[in-house]
């Protein structure tokens, strides 16, 4: 297909204009020009490609390599084949961390996407009023705050004498107060709340920009057909921002699966491993157990899992084009 006469490259066109002494000479000239162009292109790509290969592909390949060894990171290593992967399958702690990550998707992705849609639709109705500007800014603010700061702030809010419990006591719900991050049953949802709070701003902004592109006449038509605000939302707004939803879901799902900072700051995986996520487990394996091979094996498996989840999402939103 590449060889087809309709390629339309500049080299090809000029070659046609030249007097054709022989087809052989012409073909050679074309090849020479293509090569020259190719070298220039290659020269432009090389610096970026080298950096990418050095700092992304090489570590990736090394991680795969390390996963076949028993290695403490310093002294000599032993080849163990698939041993690290086998141990992964039978270790409830490492598997549990993967389950926790999947559960975090609900809080880090579904909740902010749903709330983001709702707030964006509401703010759109407020149009250019000052209230819209203020609420947009306030909701986007968490996105600007470093995750570490957000984590610290929320550990104070969620502490046993923190603001959350103070409010609960003030409204007469003193019986449900607890150290939210210190209770094995509430710690993961509490961490999820922090993540949802952070991601909401990004989702809302994405949807808001998507909604500004919607042709107002669509809403007019819907209204003439007798659609209420709810019907309007599902029939017009939602289908129009499908692509933005795809982007938002992809970004937030990855952030849920790759969660580290918020969990590390707020619970460090505790209490009793109830908030242990793969990112944290890899870190513990690599730096505390000094078991680089096992950490790499978990990282490889987890990377494949992320791809297996994110690629279908990509396909779903692309097919709608």
């Amino acid at each position: 297909m590449v060889q087809a006469p309709t390629t339309g490259t500049p080299g090809r066109r000029r070659a046609v204009e030249e007097p054709a002494t022989s087809t052989e000479a012409r073909r050679r000239a074309i090849r020479a020009r293509r090569l020259r162009h190719g070298w220039v292109g290659l020269g432009l790509v090389v610096p970026a490609a080298a950096a990418y290969a050095m700092f992304v592909l090489r570590p990736l390949a090394l991680t795969v390599q390390y996963s076949f060894y028993d290695w403490n990171g310093v002294t000599s290593s032993t080849w163990v084949g698939l041993g690290n992967y086998a141990r992964l399958a039978e270790n409830p702690e490492m598997l549990g961390s993967i389950v926790n990550a999947l559960e975090l998707i609900v809080y880090f992705s579904f909740v902010p996407v749903a709330l983001g849609l709702l707030t964006a639709a509401t703010i759109r109705k407020l149009a250019a009023s000052r209230l819209a500007l203020v609420s947009r800014t306030v909701l986007f603010l968490p996105q600007v705050i470093p995750l570490v700061a957000a984590g610290i702030m929320w550990t104070w809010l969620l502490a046993s004498d923190g603001l959350v419990n103070q409010v609960l006591r003030a409204v007469g719900l003193g019986s449900v107060t607890r150290a939210w991050l210190g209770d094995t049953s509430t710690a993961l949802p509490a961490v999820g709340v922090i993540g949802a709070w952070v991601a909401l701003g990004l989702c809302m902004l994405l949807f808001l920009s998507g909604m500004t592109k919607i042709d107002p006449s669509l809403y007019e038509a819907a209204r003439i057909d007798g659609a209420g605000p709810v019907r309007e939302f599902f029939a017009v707004t939602l289908p129009s921002v499908r692509q933005e939803i795809g982007v938002a879901v992809t970004v937030t799902v990855i952030s849920a699966l790759a969660a580290f900072d918020i969990v590390y700051i707020s619970t460090q995986g505790g209490p009793a491993n109830s908030t242990l996520v793969p990112g944290l487990e890899i870190y513990y394996l690599g730096f505390f157990s000094r078991d680089v091979g096992q950490a790499s094996a978990l990282a490889v498996v987890f990377m494949l899992l992320v791809l297996a989840i994110v690629l279908p999402i990509q396909r779903l939103t692309r097919e709608g084009d």
Binding site: N72, A159, G270, P271
Partner: protein, 454 residues
């Protein structure tokens, strides 16, 4: 169209090819033998002259941030030996723990605050201090001071060459708030475990939080009361055997199970604050300093701080024995400093470590700034300490433990990951009611075997 759909495939193939090419350059098994690397600078252990000489020397030091002791000692040492200066780098202890092997191998400091040494020594990363011990006569000190830093060929602690030294050695036990103790009629420290139980109950009945012990995140501070109870129920040397990875040693012995069940009863009776699983160390400290809890299981590294912030208001006692006058024990560990096997000035660093233990001024700093007992011979110089201070009480407790031979290494230091990955989650489960005392020890024993069996 076929080109656009074809090019990503080409790109994938190309990048995979490139990646495998790059990996191939490093295709040999990862890691190097440190034994080879060490021999390159074998001069380290050869020269034998354990001093700093007379020429200018700059010792590179990698120390723990937030603890002023090392800085105070460095300053005094430079004052006495003007040819020696220090190039200091500081990090949090957690950072030092994670990076210790790499720092010792790649960026070798002359002096470094060390975590548990067995793996580092077994990897050949630490300078062998036996020659220095002989030169300076460290062999004549009480052996228990140094045994935690001796590692044999199999990576077990307790015997073998000396791989580190302490700037002082710490003591743990129970601090109490004297004002709150007065309120519930506790006029003197409990003499037996039963008395302690009774005091805890009285505090709870009076609406005072008996204990706010940190147990959140990756640092299960319940290991402090647990090990204290273990020493009351059983033999401290058996606990050490486990921590030092001696063959056949177990943590789930009947005595230890009784201790863990005792701790479980404390949890069930509500003697701990209800949010301990989210408390970190600094929160525990601030609650105690604010007078919000009666007891705190902690170590004498806080003595100086408590004397400054709550002068005269804090008392200290060791976890009491089962019967009056019975066996007592306490976690007691040197503030460990080591020298890299590839350090530039190991003799001078060793000289410094000896100076810390033997110089009167240095010993005074170890007590006044560090709050703990200095290393060295039992009859060495001791600075004067105010009678009413916690420091005086912790030093006295240290002497009691020395006589009772009850000093123990922290059970959390048995292996590199046992604290974060086994003790902590299991102690948190104990608090949450998802684990009982016996189950706790069985689980930790299983993790321990898995880790050292490899």
């Amino acid at each position: 169209m076929s080109r656009t759909s074809g090019s990503p495939r080409v790109a994938v193939v190309a990048s995979l090819g490139l990646a495998s090419l790059l990996a191939a350059t490093a295709c040999s098994a990862p890691g190097t033998s440190t034994a080879e690397g060490g021999s390159g600078t074998a001069a380290t252990s050869a020269s034998g002259d354990m001093s700093c000489g007379t020429e200018d020397v700059t010792l590179s030091a990698y120390v723990e941030t937030g603890f002023p002791l090392s800085a105070a000692l460095f300053e005094e040492f430079t004052k006495q030996h003007p040819n020696v200066t220090f190039d200091v780098r500081e990090d949090q202890f957690a950072v030092i723990t994670q990076n210790a092997p790499r720092v010792l191998a790649d960026n070798p400091p002359d002096l470094m605050r060390l975590p548990q040494v067995s793996e580092l020594a077994a990897d050949g990363l630490l300078y062998d201090l036996d020659a220095a011990a002989e030169t300076f006569g460290w062999d004549e000190w009480p052996a228990s001071q140094l045994e935690q830093m001796r590692v044999d060929d199999d990576g077990r602690r307790g015997n073998g060459p000396l791989y580190a030294m302490g700037l002082n050695f710490s003591m743990t036990g129970v601090f109490y708030n004297k004002e709150l103790a007065d309120q519930i009629g506790m006029t003197q420290p409990p003499a037996t475990l039963a008395e302690l139980d009774e005091v805890l109950q009285r505090a709870k009945d009076a609406g005072i939080t008996p204990i706010a012990q940190f147990n959140g995140g990756a640092t299960g501070g319940f290991a402090f009361p647990l090990q204290g109870l273990m020493a009351s129920y059983g033999d401290p040397s058996e606990i050490n055997a486990w921590t030092f990875q001696q063959p056949g040693a177990r943590i789930d012995t009947p005595d230890n199970v009784k201790a863990a069940e005792h701790l479980q009863r404390w949890v069930e009776n509500g003697y701990f604050a209800d949010d301990v699983n989210s408390l970190d160390y600094s929160m525990m400290m601030s609650r105690f300093l604010e007078g919000k809890s009666l007891f705190m299981f902690n170590g004498d590294w806080e003595s100086g701080n408590l004397d400054k912030q709550m002068p005269g208001k804090v008392g200290f006692f060791l976890v009491p024995p089962l019967e009056e006058g019975g066996q007592v024990g306490a976690m007691s560990a040197p503030l460990t400093y080591g020298i890299s096997a590839r350090a530039e000035h190991p003799e001078c660093a060793a000289f410094f470590l000896d100076w810390v233990a033997t110089d009167d001024q240095a010993r005074t700093i170890a007590v006044e700034v560090g709050g703990s007992h200095p290393m060295g011979p039992a009859d060495a110089f001791m600075p004067e300490v105010g009678e009413d201070t916690v420091t005086a009480q912790t030093l006295a407790a240290g002497a009691t433990i020395g006589e009772a031979n009850g000093s123990m290494e922290f059970i959390a230091n048995a292996t590199g990951a046992i604290y974060a990955k086994s003790w902590t989650p299991n102690l948190q489960k104990l608090v949450a009611g998802e684990q009982d005392g016996a189950g706790l020890l069985t689980a930790v024993q299983a993790d321990y075997e898995r880790e050292i069996g490899r």
